[in-house]
Symmetry: C2
């Protein structure tokens, strides 16, 4: 039975709870980690959020997400960089295990992903100096290829490993089972990500897919072999939190305390 | 301006035309190829379909699809094999350039894709003896990873190349821009598919994605750099037809003759 000490829940899983209530509610259930979002942290206040987490013995397992690398006009790029540096500082103030940077997709008028991938590489390099100085790992996250145009030109663990090779210290990888389960190169690329994984996200892929808007389900309700992927992540020497991140139009309607109980039960059974 | 001699349209693009009307309608517009489906061929009759294509000077650029490799019970596997051998014979009778075999996804109760991928390899090997004897290339087609669970555990051109390496003569690859455009390994894997490509399918990926049910659009309406992918396919020495395959709840409502005119115009502009 997996140790609850390593279980975290992303706040998006229980959006009916405001951030302070989520912190208190997770802690009450014995959870030790929470994934948080800048908009909520800023609404409640960075210092107040940190205080509440400390009081309840919770760790911020991720701050998600940085501003996507989609700006092309000079002034927009400057604003985007400034925002990302501020989010690094926010992650530092929260003691977050990483700032997750989702790459973003195409800029208006672009065809194909070459330019988007170049932007991601360049802007990560630009941000890394600040992140290293602040001691905040940047977590890059491969997102499912169905989102390549609109959310993330970074689609595979192989690309994430290539970026880590190119950019060096201070960058790590977030593995989300929903985004990578289908990838035939997953076993090989998990080996290659040895020592690089800074986050591990859990939910499931529902079949038939799409009925449920986001298509995401609670662990055990879908077709992902979660235990197998977790074993690969462990072999890559990841010893951090397992964060349940389940944005779902179905689960968000339920009583958050029930959702948390289900998270714990399914984590123990399937992960 | 690309040569119309190499343009084909898949019948699913103009479903308001019954197969004989599609054959006549495409020919009237100067099109020389058609992609056909077993259900329609069988409704009209294999010999009658072949006669109509010959009379109108059309080539069957693909017969799609074979029976997916999803059976696990012994009797079901036997039936599936028999059906696929019959479809090879049908493709031979039509003079089709390939029988496209979409791998299929998970069998009931399966988690993860390992078993599905094993089935695909084994059943392709089984079918190949018959296909070689009949002189019909089997076209395997990487399908977008969003369909991995339900339609195709074969998701990337790299996997298709691996299967060709493993299975040898008689098997080829169908490249569909909609399914592969996002893949960061595409340029490398197109090089690797030198001489193996037996079909090239065209449409576009719409943004925002999903509004249009299938998310597929007419070439030029989306974000795929089609000309770039076609150049890679040509460098891999493909000299066969470019087949527009656009199953779309929007386009299927339109007058088929108008759809064909648009296909020709967009093919000349974007492909």
């Amino acid at each position: 039975m997996p140790d609850l000490e390593r279980l975290s829940i992303n706040h998006i899983t229980t959006p009916r709870w405001a951030l302070p209530d989520a912190i208190a509610g997770y802690a009450k259930a014995g959870i030790r980690g929470i994934g948080v979002w800048p908009a909520d942290v800023e609404r409640y206040g960075v210092a107040a959020t940190r205080r509440a987490m400390d009081q309840h013995g919770l760790v911020a397992t991720s701050l998600c997400c940085g501003s996507m690398f989609v700006a092309t006009a000079k002034a927009d790029v400057a604003r985007q960089r400034e925002r990302n540096r501020a989010l690094v500082d926010q992650a530092a103030a929260l003691g977050a295990r990483s700032l997750i940077c989702v790459s973003g997709g195409l800029a208006p008028g672009e065809k194909g992903l070459a330019a988007a991938r170049g932007r991601t590489r360049d802007e990560l390099a630009e941000l890394l100096a600040h992140a290293r100085a602040a001691g905040v790992p940047i977590g890059i996250e491969p997102i499912h290829p169905m989102k390549a145009a609109e959310v993330s030109s970074l689609t595979t663990l192989a690309q994430a490993n290539d970026l880590c090779d190119a950019l060096g210290e201070g960058i790590g990888i977030v593995v989300d089972v929903f985004h990578v389960w289908w990838d035939p190169t997953l076993p090989r690329e998990l080996e290659r990500s040895m020592g690089r994984i800074v986050g591990f996200h859990l939910c499931d892929w529902l079949v038939p897919f799409g009925e449920n808007v986001s298509g995401r389900g609670m662990m055990g309700d879908g077709i992902v072999d979660i235990a197998e992927i977790r074993a690969g992540v462990e072999r890559a020497r990841y010893r951090g939190f397992c964060e349940i991140e389940l944005p779902s139009p179905v689960w968000q309607l339920r009583d958050p305390a029930d959702v948390v109980r289900t998270c714990i039960e399914r984590y123990r059974r399937y992960c």
